[in-house]
Amino acid sequence: MLSININRRVLQKISPIALGYLVLGLACGMLGQKANISPIEMLAMSIFAYAGSSQFIGIAMILQSASFFSIGLTILIVNLRYVLFSSTLTPYFSKRRLPFLALYTHGITDETFAVNLNAFETETDPYWTQEEALALNFLGCVVWAISNALGCYASEFISLDIRLVSYILTAMFLGIWVNYLVNRTMILVGLSSGILAVILAQIVPFKLHIVLSSIICSGLACYLSIKQGSDDHNG
């Protein structure tokens, strides 16, 4: 059965997310208007893609008339973290059929993932249900899509400094990034990937420096940590 359950604790949990999505969605819509994207297109993008960083990156790349290959690959790499989120949530949906999973997974974002996982772990009286988790994703998507369309529409009448709107994107990346900088290894991987990206940006074409740098640094970190693990095991 496909059903959602919007109740008080769902609304309580979605409120802080919704506030963030409102601000960010307005900014994203405004940036979209600069790239000649209409409010309807912005609405469609926000409903079907429903992703903050991907949309900002996609729009920034539309502004630069980037190739499909470069846009697709960059966004795919940026979204690889969803593989991690989706696999982490799997145990809580083990008895569900494909249609529910197909709908639920569409709404996995940095924020809804974190809040739903926490709710599944801590809400026990009564237990956090899959229908509530789906409702949370759904409400987030509604707020996100409306804010995007609104920002895009309003931007035709009020002009905002594009440098400020672009910086809001950087600030958003920073706000997401700090949640991953949990230990020295993660900080080291993040910083080296950043520095390498700046260097590669001077050399490689088509904005591929982002993808290249993150694959090289995360791959190296993975190799070293597996090697260290087996050394510890043998020694």
């Binding site: 990156i57 966004i75 950087t170 700046v198 993975c222």
Partner: protein, 107 residues
Amino acid sequence: MGKEYIWSVIILMSIVTYLPRCLPMAILSHYHLPSWFTKWLTFVPTAIFGALIFPDIFITNGNISIALNNVALWTTVIIAPIAMKTKSLGYTIMTGALVFATLQSFV
């Protein structure tokens, strides 16, 4: 810019956003990801956001810049400790926008 280009990008974005969200949960109940792959995935987010942020703040008009008029860089230097401490997306964005607008009015 053509409307066809924009709609194509929207469809492309939707596909490359949906697949990494849906496939693991749809497939994982039957198979398991290899351990090196899940290990690698734990390092991807920190690397990707580093690679997104640094060029944004260190490169202006195609050149590396640490000059005082690089507003994005100095705003980030100011708000990074706040972001690290609060770990809040909304708060980081709001202070970021505020500090950026303030610094820019001096440049």
